[in-house]
């Protein structure tokens, strides 16, 4: 604002205009007095301004301290609806069971990494948060998470308490950065009605890749225009076949990246034949018409897809969305000399940020929350699998077990368990696999070339962490 504007504003000012006129004698004097008044008004405004800002700043400084004084921990969980309620019930029970630590929980969806990165980079993250499995090692290796090895040892929790192959899930270079909330495991599902309709034995799912190919072809239906009406099978999670063909994405001993493993190349060649046989663009077109997976319009429930990869959540999903569906689940078909017992595991994790203000409280709550009893109750509510053996044996969990769920559990207990590679590059690796698939689908690279490119890119990205 300029001087002129201030001057003009004064006579119209309801607070000061009248006073100015009353005291005014001549034009000269009035102008002087106005100037004084302007100054006085400025001082008042300045004081008002200072008061407002100092109040705001003061509150901002005081609020977090008062929160700390109450031995409260903040906890972000990522489940809404009935799953969130089940977790909240556990939180309430913990809060009522003791008075030292009070958990203040809130539902914060994980989404992509934005929110997690923002809260971890900021000064005061929550004391306990839920993240996807692929975030654990990148965040841990960057020093953003608290190592859990000592607290777990102090609480007497050991590798033997967890299911085989799960203890190292969420660890990097021997340091444990998180605990799995529950486990998701994929199995091979088939629609028994579609099998029977096509004259196949509904109790005989394919056991080898050759059988899978033959049955898939037999169950695929196209209309007069050549558009797909039913797809026998679509290999969606490509890494399953890398492992089924004897390959691996990384060496679990040395943590070396092995994307161009001969087994992976063989699997990729099989995938490429699949895209060619059924025409990837026809498949994409057909898929565009598929409904939401968590709905009665799920393509598997509607018979648009006769065989699929599906996790143990399908036990609950089918009960809700397709109660009449006649389906079975078993281990994945494998080629001769491959791995017939692949158990792909995914999930989310509890992690304690390194900058959390109340780590002890968070660790105490976490120990309680992941104890067998609580773990079993939470997994039962989510229709997932608890990561601990003792939780599996709890009656509260056992009563939820159906024959299908038992198949998934058996796969976990006796199968070849693999998890997303515990490398600091996170999703970059799976994106490189997607790019390799895209290149093979477009025919711009051979399966071997595509995987070699992915291997090179991931190694280059990993150099940043050496």
């Amino acid at each position: 604002m300029t001087n002129g504007e201030h001057r003009n504003a004064i006579p119209n000012d309801p607070m000061h205009g009248a006073a100015g006129a009353r005291n005014g004698h001549g034009a000269e004097a009035r102008s002087d007095r106005r100037a004084t008044r302007v100054t006085i008004q400025h001082r008042r405004s300045l004081r008002l301004w200072l008061t407002t800002w100092s109040t705001v700043l003061g509150l901002a400084l005081v609020l977090p301290t008062t929160a700390m004084a109450q031995t409260e921990i903040t906890f972000w969980y990522a489940w809404g609806g009935s799953e969130g309620q089940a977790l909240q019930a556990l939180v309430d029970e913990y809060n009522q069971g003791q008075s030292e630590v009070q958990v203040r929980s809130s539902f914060v969806p994980i989404g992509d990494g934005e929110r997690i990165l923002a809260t971890l980079a900021g000064g005061a993250p929550p004391d306990l948060i839920t993240v996807w499995d692929w975030m654990v090692v990148p965040l841990g290796a960057s020093g953003a998470l608290t190592a859990l090895d000592e607290p777990l040892a102090a609480a007497g929790v050991t590798e033997a308490d967890y299911l085989p192959g799960i203890w190292t899930y969420g660890s990097y270079q021997g340091v444990k950065y998180g605990l799995p909330t529950t486990l998701n495991v994929y199995g091979f599902m088939w629609n028994k009605d579609v099998f029977a309709e096509a004259g196949l034995d509904p109790e005989a799912p394919p056991r080898t890749i050759a059988e899978l190919d033959a049955i898939a072809e037999q169950l695929t239906v196209t209309d007069a225009r050549g558009n797909l009406r039913r797809l026998g099978f679509f290999p969606n999670v490509s890494s399953i076949y890398f492992y089924a063909f004897g390959g691996q994405l990384y060496d679990p001993e040395t943590l070396e990246v092995t994307i161009d493993h001969p087994g992976n190349v063989a699997a990729m060649e099989w995938l490429a034949r699949y895209y060619e046989t059924y025409d990837i663009n026809k498949i994409r077109r057909f898929q565009a018409g598929w409904g939401d997976l968590a709905s009665p319009y799920n393509p598997f429930y509607r018979g648009q897809l006769a065989m699929q990869e599906g996790g143990q959540w399908e036990v609950a999903f089918t009960r809700q969305y397709a109660p009449d569906l006649n389906w079975g689940v078993t281990t994945f078909p494998a080629p001769e000399g491959g791995r017939p017992d692949v158990a792909p595991v995914q999930g989310s994790f509890w992690v304690v940020p390194a900058r959390a203000t109340n780590q002890d409280g968070a660790l105490d709550f976490l120990t309680w929350l992941t104890a067998p009893e609580q773990s079993a109750r939470f997994a039962a509510a989510l229709a997932n699998i608890p990561p601990r053996q003792a939780a599996l044996d709890m009656p509260v969990y056992r009563e939820t077990i159906t024959p299908e769920l038992q198949t998934y559990i058996d796969m976990l207990l006796t199968g070849y368990v693999y998890t997303p590679p515990p490398l600091p590059v996170g999703l970059y690796l799976s994106e490189q696999l997607n790019q390799a698939l895209a290149a093979v689908q477009d025919g711009t690279a051979s399966p071997r070339e595509a995987l070699e490119t992915a291997q090179r890119n991931v190694l280059r990205e990993l150099e940043k962490y050496r």
Binding site: R284, V425, L427
Partner: protein, 307 residues
């Protein structure tokens, strides 16, 4: 401000105590915005320039790598692909929507019954949230059940896979982009109403045809508005993200992987904030370059009252 005693050359004009106080007071009153701008806009912009020369995953300290991110960009086929997709969408989408919104605006500028109703109808889509529109279009363009292909089928055309087909996905996105022409239409309408009536009257007296009135009166008078819409079109289409993130997520086969989407993936899914920052600065340079080019070649724009 500059009023005051004359000063010797080279020295700044002296402010009176009062003027200084007013300056401080003025700054104090705008300080909420100033602080907000510095903290939430200026600092991130400057910081991203620094981060573009580092390896930075947000949670650990940035490490200086010089020009490596820029070299990586140059060698990254997906960077080139995403830039190509973005330029493709801009090169087709902007002219089509500029033209279409101008035509609609001129039609709606005619005196007719229910003029207000029609204007509302054409503007209404621009008010619908982007995510809702994206989901809606995904079903409009559904290859088997979508109304678009069903209409095509009614006239005997087997519709393409649209968003599910790498060949058709970008044209499909241009098509969905036309949903939002209402925004620039309204700006054109305002421009059209500012064209002085006497110019048309003079043209009529001279016996100008409808085409000549459009060519020699309407378009020149409207050219600053066209320039404005063109610039806004370039800026928004270079930053296209939401609708594509929802509709295709960049697929199939990277055919709709646009620049902002790839930048987002690098920043928040791959934790490559340094690389993403470099991408942001390259986009800034490209956008600035495009705008300079537009201004340099804007001889066709007529500003009334300027020779």
């Amino acid at each position: 401000m500059a009023r005051g005693p004359a000063t010797a050359p080279g020295t700044r004009p002296k402010m009176s105590a009062k003027q200084r106080r007013e300056l401080w007071l003025g700054l104090a009153f705008v300080s909420p915005w100033l602080i907000g701008f510095v903290v939430f806009t200026l600092y991130p912009v400057v910081a991203s320039f620094y981060f573009s020369f580092t390896d930075y995953n947000v949670v650990s300290a940035p490490r200086w790598v010089g020009l490596r991110n820029y070299v990586d960009l140059w060698n990254d086929p997906l960077f080139a692909k995403s830039l190509y997709n973005t330029l493709y969408l801009a090169a087709i989408g902007i002219p089509v929507s500029l033209f279409l919104s101008l035509v609609i605006a001129m039609l709606l500028n005619r005196k007719m019954r229910f003029q207000g109703v029609f204007r509302t109808i054409y503007f209404l889509p621009s008010v619908v949230p982007a995510v809702a529109v994206a989901l809606l279009w995904r079903w409009f363009l559904n290859p088997d059940f979508g109304p678009v292909n069903q209409m095509l089928e009614a006239v005997g055309i087997a519709g393409p896979g649209w968003l599910a087909d790498p060949t058709w996905s970008k044209p499909a996105l241009v098509l969905t982009g036309l949903w939002g022409v209402g925004g620039s239409m309204v700006i054109y309408l305002a421009g059209l109403q500012n064209v002085p009536v006497q110019l048309y009257e003079a043209a009529d007296l001279d016996g100008a045809s409808a085409w000549q009135r459009l060519r020699y009166v309407t378009l020149p008078m409207l050219s600053p508005v066209i320039l404005f819409n063109l610039i806004m079109g370039i800026i928004t289409s270079f930053q296209a993200f939401t609708n594509i993130y929802v509709m295709t997520g960049g697929g199939p086969s990277n055919s709709t992987l646009v620049y902002a989407l790839y930048l987002y993936q690098n920043a928040f899914q791959f934790f490559r904030m340094g690389f993403a920052s470099a991408m942001a600065w390259v986009l800034m340079v490209i956008t600035a370059g495009a705008l300079v080019l537009i201004f340099r070649t804007s001889g066709w724009v007529y500003y009334e009252g300027r020779s």
